[in-house]
Symmetry: C2
Subunit: 209 residues, 2 copies
């Protein structure tokens, strides 16, 4: 027997899910709200459900923020995002905030309930199409990082790698067996090539995604 919560502003879809819950023997409805605001008012008096279905496009507090609220409150709950938006950045955001499933509209309610078994057997709910979006999002940072440092020489990249660890010029000179002035020289060249003017600008440029 598992419990299930819904946060969805589409009345038709919410009603649909509620009805399906009524038809399935081993699932019972824990709660059903049409906004995050309504949900947050009650969150402290609710028991942690097994699964929460949450819509991303809620009025007011978004479902994206909602994931963070829910994950902060409940550690074990399985959060399944329901949305028509398969933008790779949004998919990634949702998972980063702690979602365990990402279902793209339109889908059959029956299929959704069939797929709950995937969650129960220790898996994540994701369609191959959304998985591909996620993959391409994960693949991209790799490319852009290489793009950023591709214009550097091997030695300059060595210095940058030490810089990324948080070392000072003095520490880098010791680590690489060169003088601090040479470290300074390499870094000067790196700044020109990458169009930055300070260590922190460089780190921000390289480490951001």
């Amino acid at each position: 027997m598992i419990s299930l919560g819904i946060i969805e502003d589409d009345r038709f879809l919410r009603r649909n899910i509620e009805e399906c819950v009524g038809m399935v023997n081993d699932v019972n409805l824990s709660f059903s709200f049409n906004s995050m605001e309504a949900f947050l008012e009650q969150i402290h008096v609710l028991d942690e459900p097994y699964i929460v279905f949450i819509d991303l496009g809620l009025p007011g507090i978004s479902g994206l923020e909602g994931i963070t609220y829910i994950r902060k409150q409940w550690n074990e709950v399985h959060i399944v995002v329901i949305t028509g938006n398969d933008d790779e950045n949004i998919v990634f955001d949702c998972i980063q905030r702690g979602a365990n499933g990402y279902l793209l509209k339109p889908f059959k309610i029956k299929d959704l309930f069939d797929n709950i078994d995937i969650i129960r057997s220790g898996g994540a709910l994701i369609t191959p199409q959304v998985a591909l979006k996620l993959f391409s999002k994960i693949h991209k940072p790799q490319e852009s990082f290489e793009d950023v440092t591709s214009s550097l020489t091997a030695r300059e990249r060595d210095v940058v790698n030490e810089l990324l660890k948080g070392l000072t010029y003095k520490e880098i000179s010791f680590a690489l067996g060169i003088s601090t002035t040479t470290v300074n020289d390499h870094i000067k060249n790196v700044y020109i090539k990458l169009d930055v003017r300070s260590k922190s600008e460089l780190l921000a440029k390289i480490l951001k995604r």
Copy 2:
């Protein structure tokens, strides 16, 4: 009609896949090697296949490095990793290097061929179990980032956010409407709380994954 390549040192599994290719009408075998070394010798004279199956646990050059080689050579090919290792870091690494599928041993060869349709219809090949590993890997940095900054006050977090953009004390003081000495004060507190001694150490600590 799609073409398919294999790089797998398990003779039995490779033979198995080859036989299945022979049985399926719209798939033909492009190449089959038992090591990356053997494959790399031929890579320049091979046509880009539609799908490559690659084992991670190859002798010599690993399949992980292999993904990078293949992706560098062919932009469109669909790379499917086959391995018994579902460590979340390795899964993430493979995808970051450009894999489009991750199949966990043991599996039925027939299922694998059935699933090729997922790739052909623009999806990624991943089991719910591996997807969950991937999700938890993506979710973790978020947690650790929040852990790192959780001990900070709202104002200190404001300053850190400006720092992450690569701004100087002077620029931050302007951006937040406070004096540079106050910026310095907040940063001093942040350094104590997060146990670092410089801006770059802080950035490295927060931005690394």
